[in-house]
């Protein structure tokens, strides 16, 4: 109890640092998620439309997904330097797979009877995608995006390591100065941010799911 109180006092005392870090963290994560959605969803749609390339795209994004975050940040420094650019790049590489895969799976697992009737009525392949498959795949796509946001928010913590700021700054400072309260404060904020965003998206997902259920 006394420890938690100390954490709270610390948060009030270092208010400006906490707020700046939080803002940076939100900005990095938001921008990364935006980039991931911008590329991941169209890429998922594209491979659902042209199925032959799907295993390749999912395979490659899968390989990228398995590179350890810390190592990836390391790789990026010689190419992109330090700071925001390598961070965004790394987060982008990570987030791509879950979204591409969910978009693809969502579209390709739409009830075959629905697809057949849409096709039988004379939809072109793009109309089928746009009017039927994508709307019906939305809950699965949003579920993928949820995974991406939670992951991005937590991985973005490591960005502090390469000078991009964010809540990771609190944690690293806490570790290097044996200041446990600071570590806990940073971790707590990262977790709260992730859980908050996740539950909001969860609501969206449930709402979409109700809309597409028979």
């Amino acid at each position: 109890m006394a420890f938690l109180l100390r954490v709270l006092l610390l948060a009030i005392e270092r208010k400006s640092l906490v707020l700046v870090s939080l803002k940076e963290h939100v900005a990095i994560s938001l921008f990364a998620c935006f980039l991931i959605a911008l590329c991941g969803i169209p890429l998922g749609i594209l491979i659902a439309r042209f199925r032959t390339i799907a295993p390749w795209v999912i395979g490659i994004t899968g390989i990228l997904y398995t590179i350890p975050a810390l190592a990836l940040f390391g790789f990026m420094i010689p190419v992109l330097g330090i700071g925001i650019r390598p961070t965004l790049f790394a987060l982008f590489i990570y987030g791509l797979l879950p979204l591409v895969r969910n978009t693809y799976v969502g579209i390709t697992t739409v009830d075959p009877a629905i697809v057949e009737s849409a096709r039988g009525m004379g939809s072109t392949e793009w109309q089928l995608l746009w009017y039927v498959q994508i709307p019906l795949a939305l809950p699965v796509i949003v579920a993928g995006f949820r995974t991406v946001t939670v992951m991005t928010i937590s991985v973005a913590t490591i960005a502090a390591f390469i000078g991009a700021g964010g809540l990771g700054v609190l944690i690293f400072r806490g570790i290097t100065s044996y200041y446990t309260e600071l570590v806990v404060l940073g971790s707590f904020l990262v977790a709260a941010l992730a859980v908050g965003v996740d539950s909001v998206l969860g609501l969206v997902e449930r709402k979409l799911l109700r809309r597409v259920q028979m």
Binding site: D111, A113, I114, V115, E116, S117, A118, R119, G120, M121, G122, S123, T124, Q127, Y131, V132, P135, L136, R211, V212, Q213, M214
Partner: protein, 323 residues
């Protein structure tokens, strides 16, 4: 009468060597209600799908609206053919109105035209306007298939393909929808190709009945013709199971010529609106050879029906009324 669809020696072998169709040739005329019936796996659904090019024949060709189906753009072709499937395949994210006019939407027809058409369609399938803004999940199975039928009529196609549309419905709903479909067919005079494995359904709906077995068309003709002169033992056995009784149930006494009341008035009477089955039941249960037929409201004697007469007439008049 113009030919709407013609199959010319159509064969289909699926990858893996299963022969689904084996040189099927016949044609469907304008306004015809052609039911394809046969055991499962006989190729009836495959045949239906060659018409809107969801299945491409391995050899032979299908002529649709006077043109080789293969030379049609499949999208343009499908937009001119109504299509109803057993699983219905309504779009759960669209309202009933939007579902019905989907084909107009993909053709780029203006929204207000779509909405007007949606109202007309609801009327055709006997649903009131409150359904327009409902979602498929809020409907019963029967209502869903009504919407499915309405959706196939949206673009006012000359030809409608129906693949066991009522197969998943309960008996009562199924019979209701069959009546509705008959009414719609009489009114709109569409050409219908209807696949079913339910003999009663086929007997009730078909103006022409095609029996299929192992990818071949075994016999094609008016239902009564198949019933009374089956080509082989397969057709006989297949239709024998209840086909006759269905016909007796369908035909009303008023649709057949009656004998004049010449001698003694029979003891048993039956109304004009009764079916041949009712008449036969009266004869059998009452031990009578003759029954008097009376007009429904007035009770005036319209004529006499005898067992002998019935036996002679049956082969000729057993076809559904509009055959």
């Amino acid at each position: 009468m113009a030919t709407v669809v013609a199959f010319h020696e159509v064969s289909k072998v699926y990858p893996g060597g299963v022969q689904a169709l084996d040189k099927v040739s016949f044609s469907i005329d304008e306004g015809e209600f052609l039911c394809l019936i046969g055991p499962s796996g006989c190729g009836k659904t495959t045949l239906l799908k060659t018409v809107n090019r969801l299945v491409e024949p391995t050899s032979g060709w299908v002529e649709v609206y006077g043109k080789d189906a293969a030379s049609w753009d499949p999208v343009a072709l499908r937009r001119q053919i109504g299509y109803v499937i057993q699983q219905i395949g309504l779009f759960p994210h669209l309202t009933v109105g939007e579902n019905m006019t989907y084909v107009l939407r993909i053709m780029g027809i203006p929204r207000h035209v779509q909405q007007r058409r949606a109202r007309e369609l609801l009327e055709i399938v006997n649903l009131d306007e409150s359904y327009l803004s409902r979602f498929p999940r809020e409907l019963s199975g029967g209502e869903r298939q009504r919407v499915g039928v309405a959706r196939a009529l949206a673009g006012d196609p000359e030809l409608i393909l129906m693949d066991e549309p009522f197969g998943a419905l309960d008996q009562i709903t199924r019979e209701q929808l069959q009546e509705e479909l008959l009414r719609i067919h009489r009114k709109l005079r569409k050409t219908v190709l209807f696949v079913t494995h339910d003999l009663q359904e086929a007997m009730k709906l078909a103006t022409t009945l095609g029996v299929m077995q192992k990818g071949r068309m075994v016999q094609l003709g008016p239902p009564y013709e198949l019933l009374f002169s089956p080509q082989d033992s397969f057709v006989e056995e297949f239709l024998g199971r209840g086909g006759l009784f269905q016909v007796l149930r369908m035909v009303r006494i008023r649709d057949i010529p009656l004998l004049e009341l010449s001698d003694k008035m029979p003891r048993v009477t039956i109304p004009l609106s009764a079916s041949l089955e009712d008449a036969l039941r009266k004869m059998l249960l009452g031990g009578e050879q003759r029954v008097a037929v009376v007009e429904d409201g007035t009770g005036r004697v319209a004529g006499v029906l005898s067992f002998e007469h019935l036996c002679r007439l049956l082969p000729r008049y057993c076809a559904p009324m509009y055959a």
